[in-house]
């Protein structure tokens, strides 16, 4: 549209994010003291391959939701570039932006606040088609019924209001709404975190089926490594607004390189019971430091059991240490041996 096609773009990538920063100014405390800045997302790069699921994992407050909302232009972007299907999203405004929104939709975390309580379920799913002029009015009604069936709801339920559904059913309505405009990319911001474990599996399976049937691409946000391992092809680990490790699923779970990733994985119940890993488990101590004007050096240093002097002074950069596996830690050398393994061997 308004921007020239990106000649360097890899046609396999549906979404290309580079140098993305989202900073929130805090209100001044008083006339003399400025309020500081929340570095919610502080320079991240990632590409999402067409038809794949890209996961962003990290503790609460690490900036995952902000990163997801930024990809959808739902928060003001401080710096960086977001290309969806070759179109630069960060400079789009008005009708051009609205037109692009057809291609990227979102499923929210909280099924209780993501549906307008004053609208009937059918109207919620139909609204995106009305606003974006998808199909004729008759077709829209038929498509609503079809979507309801497809996500495991009964078409008669279109007349109900959101509070008349259970949490899992409400999330299904959210999925149907996201599918309504036939998007290519669906951002899933912790879509199962608010649900019971049994229902989580149903929703995850539904998402996988939909991906297979419609060739969807997912940007999948979660704090739960188990969920990420189940559904994601590629995974980025976020810590305080930055990506500290990124790789495909197999490599990340078999050889985690960053001490933070290692700590997260060893906290997952299935991994915890593996023999011989009891001793070199990293326990995360304390809360993550605040993203308000973060200190220099490695952001993880205050909680890292392997931190050296250098870690507090110098900021490690994200680099590729083996094919497709990126990590940001001073102590991971050319040999690719992470600090926790070295310590265990010593």
């Amino acid at each position: 549209m308004s921007s020239a096609p990106n000649l360097n773009a890899d046609a396999d990538n549906l979404l290309e994010v580079s140098g993305l920063k989202v900073h929130f100014p805090l209100p001044r405390k008083n006339l003399m003291t400025p309020g500081g800045t929340v570095h919610a997302v502080d320079g991240i790069n990632y590409n999402v391959r067409r038809g794949s699921t890209f996961g962003i994992v990290g503790e609460s407050g690490s900036g995952k939701t902000t990163a997801a909302l930024a990809a959808m232009r739902l928060v003001p972007i401080t710096a960086g570039s977001i290309r969806l299907d070759g179109t630069e999203m960060t400079t789009l405004e008005g009708d051009a932006l609205r037109a692009m929104r057809r291609k990227i939709q979102i499923v929210f975390q909280d099924p209780y606040s993501s549906l307008n309580p004053r609208m009937r379920a059918g109207a919620i799913v139909r609204e995106p088609m009305d606003l974006m002029d998808v199909g004729s009015p008759d077709e829209r009604d038929r498509r609503v019924a079809e979507l309801f069936r497809r996500v495991g709801l009964r078409p008669e339920q279109v007349a109900l209001f959101p509070h008349q559904f259970s949490g899992g059913q409400r999330q299904r309505i959210g999925v149907a709404r996201a599918l309504a405009t036939q998007p290519e990319l669906i951002v899933c911001d912790e879509p199962v975190s608010a649900l019971d474990v049994a229902i989580q599996a149903q929703i995850l399976n539904l998402l996988r089926e939909l991906q297979r049937d419609f060739g969807l691409t997912y940007l999948f946000i979660s704090h739960d490594l188990g969920v990420v391992q189940y559904i994601c092809d590629d995974i980025a680990v976020m810590y305080l607004g930055e990506i500290v490790e990124q790789s495909d699923r197999i490599s990340l779970f078999s050889t985690p390189l960053h001490p933070y990733t290692w700590a997260l994985i060893s906290a997952v119940p299935s991994a915890r019971h593996r023999k011989g890993e009891e001793d070199n488990r990293v326990r995360l101590q304390g809360d993550p430091p605040s993203p308000i004007d973060p200190p220099p050096g490695c952001h993880f240093a205050p909680r890292c059991p392997f931190a050296e002097d250098r870690c507090h002074r110098e900021k490690p950069s994200l680099r590729e240490v083996k094919a497709g596996h990126l990590v940001s830690c001073h102590l991971v050398g050319e040999d690719c041996v992470p600090p926790h393994v070295k310590t265990a061997a010593a």
Binding site: F108, S113, N116, P117, P128, E146, G152, G168, L195, Q202
Partner: protein
């Protein structure tokens, strides 16, 4: 679609799903409050009097029908007569019309200005909020009765002027309430969802956020009717209302000098005002219960 067969109904109905239409639920909650029912019935009776009594009775409330200051119940005058020998029962019934008309339209103006200012401030925040809130504060610090008196004296003392004057001096509370609701609701995910499907600001403000902000505003509107009625009474008591239209405030104003000798001339319209304000407060209470989701769960 890949599979033509509908998948089985979801198995995640762990929580019982209540199927009750919101209107039915609202009525059920409202009807649990007997005081609110009484308030509603009382208000309906007053509205009925205001709408139909003049046509049914065919009387002139200003007519001198008997000697002045006849006490209630004597000589066939249920509420007695006033200083000009007018039948107080007829005057009070006829007065309902002006009082309610001014009360309701003043409340309407209050709600309209308050919601417009409050929703824009709460939605856009930033400098829009700053400017609108300074204006609100300005109106808040002015003494309302004095301002209304000035407005009515500046223009003609007709019912519309009185209603507008009352509306102009009493919208600040509604504006603050609407602003707070908008600030709260605009952060909820369904508002982000609305934007993500391409809704413009106008749609988000009026079609998405406002319907969700309405319950406390409706409760407030019911109370505003009561306040506006008291305001109208105060203005006509001070002689700042239409002298050619019978209203309760005017009756009290005309008879204020005889409060000690013929107290009924003042208390009869006073009781009418009291009952009307009471009925709208009870209705407001009932609406509050019916809209309050925490009470709903019980």
């Amino acid at each position: 679609m890949a599979d033509t067969e509908a998948p089985p109904t979801p198995m995640d109905d762990t929580e019982p799903v209540r199927i009750e239409h919101p209107v039915v639920e609202f009525l059920r909650m409202y009807l649990r409050n007997w005081a609110a029912i009484a308030g509603f019935l009382m208000f309906m009776a007053i509205v009925f009097a205001a709408l139909f009594a003049p046509a049914l009775l065919q009387r002139d409330p200003f007519e001198m029908v008997w000697m002045p200051f006849s006490p209630p119940g004597k000589d066939g005058y249920l509420l007695g007569t006033d200083n000009l020998g007018r039948d107080l029962l007829i005057a009070v019934i006829y007065g309902a019309r002006a009082t309610l008309a001014v009360g309701a339209s003043a409340a309407g103006i209050t709600i309209f200005i308050g919601i417009t200012i409050g929703s824009l401030a709460g939605y856009y925040r930033g400098w829009v909020d700053e400017v609108l809130m300074r204006i609100t504060e300005f109106f808040q610090v002015l003494p309302p009765l004095l301002l209304a008196m000035v407005l009515v004296s500046l223009f003609s003392p007709t019912l519309p002027t009185v209603a507008i004057a009352i509306g102009v001096v009493s919208w600040t509370g509604v504006a603050r309430l609407a602003r707070a609701e908008f600030m709260r609701i605009r952060e909820l995910e369904f508002v982000k969802a609305a934007r993500s499907i391409g809704s413009r600001d106008r749609r988000i403000i009026w079609r998405v956020i406002l319907p969700n902000a309405l319950p406390p505003l409706i409760v407030n509107a019911a109370l505003t009717v009561g306040v506006a009625i008291l305001f109208e009474a105060a203005l006509s008591f001070l002689g700042l209302s239409d002298p050619n239209v019978m209203s309760w405030g005017k009756l009290i104003g005309d008879n204020r000098d005889y409060l000690l000798d013929a107290p009924w001339t003042v208390t009869m319209p006073g009781v009418a005002i009291f009952l009307t304000v009471l009925s709208v407060s009870l209705i407001g209470d009932g609406l509050n219960d019916a809209f309050n989701p925490r009470l709903r769960e019980r």
